[in-house]
Symmetry: C2
Subunit: 272 residues, 2 copies
C-alpha cells in the first residue's frame, strides 16, 4: 500500500475531478492510494472530508493531495482549511476566464443539467440503444441513419468501440462482422452495400486476436493462430479492395480508436 | 453561430482536455464554437494549429480560448505562441506537484498505456462483455461473479447504466427487468433469489416513463400513463418488500446513477 493518499472531492459525480487528477498524476512515477468523495454539496459534508484528510495527513506524515472541482463557495471554503495540498481546477481557471469573457461565472454545480429536458443527453441514450440494436450485424433496419458502420473480424474491438462512440460522443455506430462466409463469397455482407461510404474497418494483429479468442473458446479452430491469420489477411484484402479505410486496434484503447474514427470520418463532429 | 471559438488541443485523444474545458465552460452562460484537435504530437502539427487559432482570432476579433493538455515541452512551446488565451492544465498543476512529491514529472504523453498488456483495460473490456451478455435478464450464467444486478421496470435506465459501470469503472453489472408477470406472481424473478444482496433498483417517475416508452411504441398500452403508474407502483412495492434499495433515474444522468450505486453498494471501489 502506498504511503501517500490522493482525494478527489466534488459536489457532483467527481468524474471531472478524477479525470483531471489522474491526467496530472500520470506525469509521475508514483502510485498513490485514491479516495473518491463525490456528492460533497453541503458544509457538513465538507467538514467530514476535511476531518478525513487531516487524519490521513497525520497517519501518513505527508500532505494528502486533493483534486477538487467544488463550485459552491461556502463548501470550497471549508475544504481549503484542510491539511492537504489542494488543486482546485475551477477556481484556477474560472477567474481568468471571467475576465476574458467579461462576465461572471454562475458557479453551477456539476456538469450535468436536468437530463429529462436535455437534448444532447437524450441523443446519447438514443445512440446507445442504436449501438445495441445494431451490434454484430443484428439488424439492417435504420442503417441509413448510422453515422458509421464498423466492420472487421470477430473480436477485433467493434462492439466496445461502437458503444463508446455512442456513450461519449452521441454517435450512432452500427457494427457488422466480416466472417469466413463473406471471404468465401468474396463480397462484403450484402447489408453493407448501400452504406460502403460509412464503413470503417478495424483490424488486429493475428497473434493478439488468437489470445483474445482463446480466452473465449480455448483450443478451438476459431481461436487458432492459423485461422486468425487467414481471417485477418482476408478481411484486410477485402477492405482494401472495397476502399474501406481501417486501423489496427492491437495497441489502441477504445478511446483512442473512437477519437481516430471521429477524426477520419466525421470531421464536422470535431467542430460542434 | 457563436462568435467565440474554443480549441481543445492534445497530443492524445483530447478526452482529458475536453472534459477539463467543458467543466470550466459550464460555469458560463456562453455557448462557444468547439474545435477539437487531437493527436497534436509534433512541432509541425503544432504550427498548423497555431495558424488556425490565429486565423480564428482575426476572423472573430476575439481571443480564442485554448484548453490544452500537451505534455511535450517542444510542442507546447509552439502552441504558447498563438494569439489565443491558453489554459494549460498540465503545466499549471504539474510543477507544484513536482515540488510536493520532490520528483520530476516524466512528461508522459496521453493517459493510456499499451492496452495489449494493461490489466485494468482488460478488465474493463471483460466487464463490457459481461454487461452485454447479462443485459435484460438474458442469462443467469455466471451471475455469481456480478458486482451488482440492476433491477427495475422496462426503460428505467438499467441498460445504459450497466454499460457505463463497465466502461468507466470495470464493474460487472447485470440487469434484470421487473415485468407484469413478476408482479402477478408477487415474487422477484427466480434467477435473482440467490443474489438479492447484490440487487440495486432503479425507479422512474411514471409520467417520464410514459414519455420514453411512447417514443418506442407510440399509443401502446405498454406506454400508457396508467400502465406506467401501475408498473412503477408495483415495482417499488416489491423492492420495498424484498429490502432492495433503489434510486430514481428521472432527473439523473447515467454518470450520476452509476456514481451513486458505486457509493452505496461498493464503497471499497471509492478507494482504489
Amino acid at each position: 500500500m502506498s504511503d501517500r493518499s490522493v482525494f478527489f472531492v466534488s459536489d457532483g459525480t467527481g468524474i471531472t475531478a478524477e479525470t483531471f487528477g489522474n491526467s496530472i498524476l500520470a506525469q509521475f512515477a508514483i502510485k498513490p492510494r485514491h479516495v473518491r468523495r463525490p456528492f460533497i454539496d453541503t458544509v457538513d459534508k465538507a467538514y467530514q472530508v476535511v476531518r478525513e484528510i487531516n487524519a490521513t495527513a497525520v497517519r501518513e506524515g505527508k500532505l494528502p493531495i486533493v483534486f477538487t472541482t467544488l463550485a459552491k463557495e461556502d463548501v470550497l471554503e471549508i475544504l481549503l482549511t484542510c491539511q492537504g495540498k489542494v488543486f482546485d481546477m475551477i477556481k484556477t481557471f474560472v477567474e481568468p476566464l471571467e475576465h476574458e469573457f467579461n462576465m461572471k461565472s454562475n458557479h453551477r454545480v456539476g456538469r450535468f443539467s436536468d437530463v429529462a429536458v436535455d437534448r444532447e443527453y437524450h441523443d446519447r441514450i438514443e445512440a446507445i440503444n442504436f449501438a445495441l440494436e445494431h451490434d454484430d450485424g443484428q439488424s439492417s433496419r435504420n442503417l441509413e441513419v448510422a453515422d458509421v458502420v464498423l466492420v472487421g473480424v470477430s473480436r477485433s474491438g467493434k462492439t466496445p468501440t461502437s458503444i463508446y462512440l455512442a456513450m461519449q460522443h452521441g454517435i450512432k455506430a452500427a457494427n457488422v462482422p466480416l466472417i469466413p462466409e463473406d471471404f468465401d463469397r468474396g463480397f462484403l455482407p450484402s447489408m453493407l452495400k448501400p452504406y460502403k461510404r460509412k464503413c470503417f474497418g478495424l483490424t488486429i494483429d493475428p497473434q493478439r486476436l488468437s489470445e483474445i479468442r482463446n480466452e473465449r473458446r480455448p483450443g478451438s479452430k476459431y481461436a487458432s493462430l492459423e485461422n486468425c491469420r487467414a481471417e485477418v489477411n482476408q478481411a484486410e484484402a477485402m477492405m482494401r479492395r472495397e476502399g474501406i479505410s481501417w486501423l489496427s486496434s492491437t495497441h489502441k484503447s477504445i478511446e483512442e480508436i473512437a477519437t481516430t474514427i471521429l477524426r477520419d470520418i466525421r470531421p464536422d463532429r470535431l467542430i460542434y
